[in-house]
């Protein structure tokens, strides 16, 4: 026992991981006990019920279409937001006048409750497009603001050096500004994808397209299949975590110079 304690003291990251694991285990056991003590497992299913729902969901033929289409919607929303953020964020960072023009729009979008946007989008768009639009609007301001900040924080000394050496404008953009904004860009992507993914699902819950994680959640909800709602939630969380891992991986690869 002292040996184990000694090892844990030395290796704090392992120790912290074990602490996290223990807390998660306690929560899961607590959840199971709570649902057992509750008189209706229909209303409060335990982890065991949820897992069995999860397995049956994954086995259904519709599962991949729902998962795939939601990811696809998120991706389309993200790519649109990313393209617009680049087009607006880069000139905003270089020109305060340009930024002043777009700032009110970005702030308005950011402060509008998602639900209000969804209600309007339901009137304006086809149900399949609503989640994409919501995802776009959630991610666009975050990405733009981060890119603008990244441009503004670019070392002016490097820009001056490039001017002295008569480096072409295009290469100043690709070789100085772009690498400078990468850290800001990745932090923007990580935050916006986190929010965007959730908004896409909210959009699906409310607009009810044929397939989609949100649609499936709404279906399960209307039949009071609580364990299925929780199972879909778990799937959404796992996919969100996978996105985060992918983003971190890409970031690590594109910033090798940071050591």
């Amino acid at each position: 026992m002292p040996l184990v304690a000694n090892y844990l003291m030395k290796n704090s990251s392992t120790r912290n991981r074990i602490i996290s694991l223990i807390v998660v285990l306690i929560l899961i056991i607590g959840w199971e006990l709570l649902s057992r003590s509750f008189n209706s497992r229909q209303i409060l299913p335990g982890p065991v019920d949820t897992i069995s729902s999860l397995i049956s969901i994954v086995g259904k033929p519709d599962f991949l279409s729902s998962l795939g289409i939601t990811i696809f919607r998120g991706l389309v929303g993200f790519l649109l937001a990313f393209a617009c953020a680049i087009l607006i964020g880069i000139p905003s960072g270089m020109n305060p006048g340009f930024e002043a023009g777009f700032k009110p729009i970005l702030i308005t979008i950011r402060s509008t409750p998602v639900i209000a946007i969804i209600l309007l989008a339901l009137i304006w768009f086809h149900v399949d497009q609503v989640p994409v639009f919501i995802g776009f609007l959630t991610m666009f301001p975050i990405l733009t603001i981060n890119i603008t900040q990244g441009i503004r924080e670019t070392d002016p000394g490097l820009i001056q050096m490039a001017h002295l050496y008569h480096i072409r404008k295009k290469r100043i953009l690709t070789d100085i500004y772009w690498p400078s904004i990468l850290p800001f860009l990745f932090s923007g992507i990580s935050t916006s994808v986190g929010f965007g993914w959730r908004s896409v699902i909210i959009g699906e819950v409310l607009s009810q397209p044929r397939y989609g994680i949100g649609s499936m959640m709404q279906d399960a909800h209307s039949y009071l299949l609580v364990s299925e709602v929780i199972a879909w939630t778990l799937i959404a969380i796992l996919v969100g975590a996978a996105f985060e891992l992918i983003i971190r991986g890409v970031e690590k690869r594109s910033t090798v110079w940071k050591r």
Partner: protein, 229 residues
């Protein structure tokens, strides 16, 4: 071709930094601008480099020369390797193979051939300054501007790097204009030392180091120091 600043006036807001300032540089030699911090030496370099334009007067002869710079904060790109940093300003000026060859030659001359593929975060301060020296000499130009380039290095390292700078320069022979407030650096490197005083910037004395003893140069520097106390 004469390299000259003629009757230049330059103000920043209310503050007049240069007033009818004239200075000529001898092509192919090393001129040191020596003076107190904040007197406007950097403004002179920025006028020569074209970063600033004069309010009045003219900068002559530098336009067509191709200008390299060595800065105190090195200004090398953290996301590029040593080799890519030296190649960076060459890419638009010559074919890629020639750019690579030139860059490698000067990296070898500053003694960093083993570090070619390293990133700046893996280099010491002195090594980074060597990268910016290699970049300056590799660039096809006739003029090198240096702004307190060796200021942040400790003395032993500084003289070591100054000597390798001089060695490369002897082969290369381009016009060097450098700004410093360190008289040791000025005498080690400069063939001409221009002593400057500020408010507005004026030339106190201009000497050829070959004609003077180290003592007399130090005396001028001391007088300048006392003047600015």
């Amino acid at each position: 071709m004469s390299l000259k600043l003629e009757n230049i006036t330059k103000s920043f807001g209310e503050r007049k930094i240069l007033n009818q300032f004239t200075l000529e540089f001898k092509p192919g030699s090393i001129t040191c601008l020596f003076g107190p911090s904040g007197c406007g030496k950097t403004t002179i370099l920025n006028l020569i480099g074209g970063i600033l334009t004069p309010d009045e007067g003219s900068v002559q002869g530098f336009g067509e020369e191709g200008i390299s710079c060595i800065f105190q904060e090195t200004r090398i790109l953290p996301w590029k390797t040593v080799l890519a940093n030296v190649v960076f300003p060459l890419m638009d000026k010559m074919p890629e193979s020639q750019a690579l060859e030139t860059a490698k030659k000067f990296i070898r001359l500053v003694g960093l051939e083993k570090e070619e593929m390293r990133y700046p975060s893996q280099l010491s301060g002195g090594m980074k300054q060597r990268v910016s020296i290699a970049r300056a000499f590799a660039f096809p130009g006739k003029v090198i501007l240096m702004d307190e380039a060796f200021h942040s290095l400790d003395n032993a390292l500084k003289y070591n790097i100054l000597d390798s700078f001089l060695q490369i320069w002897k082969e290369d022979g381009r016009t060097v204009i450098f700004v410093t407030h360190d008289i040791g650096e000025a005498t080690r490197l400069g063939q001409h030392i221009v002593f400057l005083n500020h408010n507005p910037l004026e030339i106190i004395r201009s000497v050829n180091t070959a004609d003077e003893t180290a003592d007399s140069i130090n005396k001028i520097a001391d007088v300048l120091y006392v003047l600015n106390k």
